[in-house]
């Protein structure tokens, strides 16, 4: 039995929206990083699901790259986190607004 493609889509879109909401609503940079990971993983589910639907390996192939990119993103994100924390002793992103207008 094959799981219908709709289920993958519903799961992934829900995850994507949750992730997006996390980015938009949370103030802590760590949580935002996690939310972005959630969005990326929603895409991964999409890709894998479609890959199965179309009976091709391209999607799974793509997922490998997304994962690598996500890891690199996390690394850069953590680097920025340490730099921010070292200078301002906080990770609340709404406090970083010296440049505006």
């Amino acid at each position: 039995m094959q799981i219908p493609i709709e289920w993958y889509l519903i799961l992934s879109s829900a995850l994507f929206i949750i992730g997006a909401a996390g980015v938009l609503l949370r103030r802590n940079l760590f949580i935002i990083l996690l939310s972005v990971e959630l969005m990326m993983n929603a895409v991964n589910i999409n890709l894998v699901g479609f890959s199965r639907f179309h009976e091709t390996l391209i999607g799974q192939n793509f997922v490998l790259f997304t994962m690598a990119v996500a890891a690199a993103e996390a690394a850069v994100g953590l680097a920025i986190v340490t730099a921010l924390y070292r200078n301002k002793r906080t990770l609340m992103i709404d406090l970083f607004n010296t440049m505006k207008g």
Binding site: I5, L9, S13, I17, L25, A72, A74, A79, T82
Partner: protein, 122 residues
């Protein structure tokens, strides 16, 4: 097959609109309903009673983060090695050389990190 996907897209779009709409609506409702008084006291763990001292989070050595980041990055090469390992026999020498190049590039990063003193734990 393709027409089926078209239908999926429309359903899917409705799904996203609903999800986003819910999220915006709830935000808005909460924003309208909540009494807003901003007070730094509300941010502290106990609004009355003992003032908390110190930080609940134990500060780790910043070195730890560096090592963790490096770990994540080097850990990820395994992702590429699994499919490679499985299909190595059919792909032959080309794949082997490819992987050597890949590892060589990672090695440069490793040497760089080493020379920069990330790995020496004081």
């Amino acid at each position: 097959m393709v027409n089926a996907t078209v239908d999926i897209f429309i359903q899917f779009f409705l799904m996203i609109v609903l999800a986003a709409g819910m999220f915006v609506a709830m935000l808005w409702i909460v924003h309208r309903l909540m009494p807003t008084s901003r007070n730094p006291n509300k941010g502290i763990p106990y609004e009355c009673g003992v003032r908390p001292t110190g930080d609940a989070r134990v500060p780790y050595n910043v070195h730890y983060y560096l090592v963790a980041v490096l770990f994540v990055l080097f850990d990820l090469e395994a992702v590429f090695m699994y499919p490679w390992a499985v299909t190595l026999r059919t792909l032959g020498t080309v794949a082997f050389v490819d992987m050597l190049v890949f590892i060589a590039i990672l090695l440069v990063g490793f040497v760089y990190a080493w020379k920069k003193g990330v790995l020496s734990w004081e």
